[in-house]
């Protein structure tokens, strides 16, 4: 299992291949990639603040929970911080399991936890300045299903 918290971009394809090739005996690999939406030109970019140290700890804890709960064979989380342009990848999750149900569930579990329990704060850069992204009630509610 691997956690990368970094400022620079990552290569979704290269990471996906390395992850899939590095797992032994998996039948299912799921990846999720979050991208900066441009909302029809209204978003010029994004700035992501984080809490160094706690971020890595919080994500590692989620991954251990996911592994125990869904019998994961492996998992990967990459999350960027700093300034990002429109359509740039923000983060990715990859999960590997014997069967598809576990791989999907673990990826969704990790995403729900990353949204609301990993110390990142997003600010959208629009034509009229920067706005902190508000946490959504539905994201908090999504945790209720686990």
């Amino acid at each position: 299992m691997r956690v990368l918290v970094q400022q620079g971009p990552f290569d979704l394809g290269a990471e996906s291949n390395a992850f899939a090739e590095g797992v032994r005996g998996a039948g299912a690999v799921v990846t999720f990639t979050g991208l900066v939406r441009d909302n029809g030109g209204a978003v010029l970019g994004m700035e992501i603040e984080h809490y160094p140290g706690m971020t890595e700890r919080a994500i590692a804890a989620m991954m251990q929970q996911a592994q125990a709960r869904f019998g994961l064979l492996d998992a990967l989380v990459i999350h960027r911080h700093g300034r990002l342009g429109p359509a740039e990848p923000i983060m990715m999750v990859a999960t590997a399991a014997s069967h598809r149900a576990q791989a999907f569930a673990a990826a969704e579990f990790l995403m729900d936890y990353l949204k609301s329990r990993a110390p990142f704060w997003k600010r959208e850069l629009g034509p009229e300045g920067a706005t902190w992204v508000a946490a959504k009630d539905e994201d908090e509610a999504a945790l209720g299903r686990w």
Partner: protein, 82 residues
């Protein structure tokens, strides 16, 4: 002495991202009360308790939790990762 960190709009309202606070506050609540007394920026930052989260030594915590042995307190709004 406790290291206090602020993130996102709490950091902006207070104007610093971290400071060392000389305090005898027994709980998070008590620490917040001390900080709020420091001025308008702090008062504004801590005004909306529903939008406030706290971590003690990098673990999420509740406002009534004790600060005994705690070295690092972080205040921030709800997280928006992913």
């Amino acid at each position: 002495m406790i290291e206090v960190l602020y993130f996102a709009w709490l950091r902006e309202r207070i104007g610093v991202n971290r400071e060392t606070v000389d305090t005898k506050a027994a709980t998070v609540e008590a620490l917040i009360a001390e900080l709020v007394a420091r001025g308008e920026g702090y008062a504004l930052a801590f005004a909306d308790r529903k939008s406030l989260r706290v971590a003690l030594d990098q673990e999420m915590a509740a406002f009534d939790q004790s600060l005994v042995g705690v070295r690092e307190v972080a205040f921030f709004p709800p997280m928006t990762g992913g």
